[in-house]
């Protein structure tokens, strides 16, 4: 099995997900099954193969100019769970800056 319980906890932390204790074992098994399957790539001869990141060869670039569209704070905030005075509201990030 390529992924154990600790590994599941490590990547869940990175992905900002909380896995209920009762599901860690099952997830470790399911992820391992997929990764063991994916390990067949290691048998491929990939010498001379540059990575393909993108199907078209070059992304077109636009002029670095504003295009005149404006969403506006009111519409941008309309779907926010919490907002105040034109800002998104979140719980405190830094506390006691000036105790």
């Amino acid at each position: 099995m390529s992924i154990d319980r600790d590994e599941v906890a490590r990547i869940a932390e990175l992905a900002r997900l909380e896995i209920p204790a009762g599901q860690v074992e099952l997830l470790a098994a399911q992820l391992s099954q997929v990764l063991d399957f994916a390990a067949q790539l290691h048998r491929l001869d990939l010498r001379g193969c540059e990575p393909t990141a993108f199907a078209p060869a070059a992304a077109p670039l636009r002029d670095d100019q504003p295009d005149g569209r404006r969403l506006g704070a009111e519409r941008a905030l309309a779907a926010a769970p919490e907002g105040e005075g034109g800002f998104f509201l979140v719980p405190p990030i830094v506390e006691n800056v000036n105790p």
């Binding site: 900002r16 997929v34 994916a38 990939l46 199907a55 078209p56 769970p81």
Partner: protein
């Protein structure tokens, strides 16, 4: 004109433009067919609103799709309907803008008549992973419609609309089209704008078209395709001209990689391939048999690339700017973690974890980088194939539609049902699934056509030859096969 819901999009639009049908009647037509009785069981739609339809009808533009109702998959942003991606984390979310393809649909006269159900964030092959309940296959309510665009495919199959839009990251338009017995086009990467399509795997995602008639796929493609300054991955050249979809396949060479279906493809689907090849040959195309092994490593490559990109794209859902926020969080990190854990369903969490692992320090080279290199090899295999032929005829799926619940407990088995469709996404090339009648058990059979970049015109001409069973010389060009809708069971 009676039974408007049986008409193709271009017939319906013709009826509107010649004054035989009102826009309002055309838009409402689908809700007077089988959908009125069936929709509570099929569950193709996540949202539809008579008021929004009426105001859409009143504002309908003049154009090739005037008055045509279209179901749009729920990961395409619409200002008149919520856009949930089939997820609790976006329940009730209303985008502040229309996706470019939605805007172009409206410009062509079409009216958005509802939002199609889907696997959560397009991650799935059966529409069973929708947070709002599965869609069922109209041909057999015990079976899945395929996925992830199962809602749009079912809506087209049972006459709710003649055309729907989906998205195809690894087969999510073509596989449900096959399972529901309709056409499903995944265009060349960079031909349909993705501005306003909620991103899943950005190097793979394409907006796709589902319809019952080749004419409608071509007309919709022509209305939607082409450069969009709001999507930096678009090709800058004009999209290929598909107006000659009915001009036959004389001289066209189609690849016949019979080794692909020598094992583990349903016998009745192989018969569908043989019939399709006979239709193409009758219409003047030439069969080119050859050995082809695309997708041998495709599924492994795909599930590393797609999950890695998804883990990055879905980082934006954090409970701050839109969507669900967990009510019980004292600090911002807990807010992220709890909102995401309660908002995303199990399959989405599984894929985010897989992608996070494939991108994480120590594993990046072994998994993500290897997958990107394998992808180059797959692209070369397709390029090699298209040196011998203009397009390839192959299966769309290994099986007929499977039963609800059959694969939900086994992620790998679900992933392997995409084996014939993911190659087109990895290579950036177009693919089209074409229905070829029903199996003996009365389930839809389909084949798939793949072509090199910008081969949409050839794919549509070949699909037309199959649609008219090779009778390209003896049928009038406006011939349309009558829509044979499923019977309820």
């Amino acid at each position: 004109m009676s039974e408007l819901w049986k008409l193709s999009a271009i017939e319906l639009a013709h009826g509107v433009r010649t004054g035989k049908v009102t826009v309002a009647a055309a838009v409402e037509s689908g809700f007077e067919g089988p959908a009125r009785e069936w929709e509570s069981e099929v569950h193709a739609l996540l949202a539809s609103d008579p008021k929004a339809r009426a105001s859409g009808a009143a504002a309908a533009n003049d154009g090739p799709l005037r008055g045509v109702p279209v179901v749009v998959k729920d990961n395409l942003c619409t200002t008149d309907y919520p856009t949930t991606c089939g997820s609790r984390i976006l329940e009730g979310y209303r985008p502040p803008y229309d996706a470019t393809v939605v805007r172009r649909l409206r410009a062509a006269g079409a009216v958005v008549s509802g939002k199609g159900n889907m696997d959560e964030f397009a991650m799935g092959s059966s529409t069973e992973y929708s947070a709002f309940g599965p869609t069922r296959n109209p041909h057999d309510l015990g079976r899945v419609p395929g996925g992830s665009s199962g809602g749009p495919a079912a809506a087209v199959a049972y006459g709710l609309v003649p055309v729907a839009l989906g998205s195809d990251t690894g087969g999510s338009v073509r596989q449900p089209a096959a399972f529901c017995g309709v056409l499903g086009l995944k265009p060349t990467y960079g031909r349909l704008s993705r501005y306003g399509l909620v991103a899943f795997g950005s190097s793979l995602d394409q907006v796709g078209i589902l319809a019952r008639h080749v004419s409608d796929v071509a007309t919709t493609y022509a209305a939607l395709a082409g450069p969009d300054p709001f999507d930096a991955t678009m090709r800058l050249t004009p999209a290929p001209d598909v107006s000659h979809w009915d001009e036959g396949v004389k001289g066209l060479r189609f690849g016949w990689p019979a080794n692909l279906w020598a094992a583990s493809v349903d016998r009745e689907l192989v018969e569908g391939l043989e019939e399709s090849a006979a239709y193409l040959e009758r219409a003047g195309a030439t069969k080119v048999p050859f050995e082809f092994m695309p997708g041998e490593f495709g599924v492994a490559t795909y599930y590393l690339v797609a999950t890695a990109e998804a883990s990055s794209n879905l980082a934006r859902f954090d409970g701050v700017r839109y969507g669900f926020r967990h009510p019980d969080s004292d600090d911002v990190r807990t807010l992220y973690t709890r909102s995401r854990s309660a908002g995303f369903g199990p399959e989405v969490q599984r894929r985010i974890l897989l992608g996070t692992y494939a991108l994480s320090a120590g594993y990046y080279d072994a998994y993500y980088l290897s997958a990107q290199k394998a992808r180059t090899r797959i692209r070369r295999e397709y390029e090699e194939a298209f040196r011998r032929c203009d397009l390839v005829l192959m299966p769309a799926t290994p099986t007929l539609p499977f039963r609800l619940g059959e694969k939900t407990e086994d992620p790998l088995a679900m992933y392997l049902s995409d084996i014939f469709t993911i190659g087109a996404n990895l290579a950036g090339i177009p693919g089209l699934t074409v229905p070829v009648g029903l199996s003996r058990s009365r389930l839809p059979r389909a084949v798939q056509l793949l072509g090199p970049e910008d081969a949409e015109p050839a794919l549509l001409r070949a699909a037309r030859a199959i649609e008219v069973r090779g009778e390209t010389k003896h049928l009038p060009s406006e011939y349309e096969a009558e829509f044979s809708w499923p019977t309820k069971r």
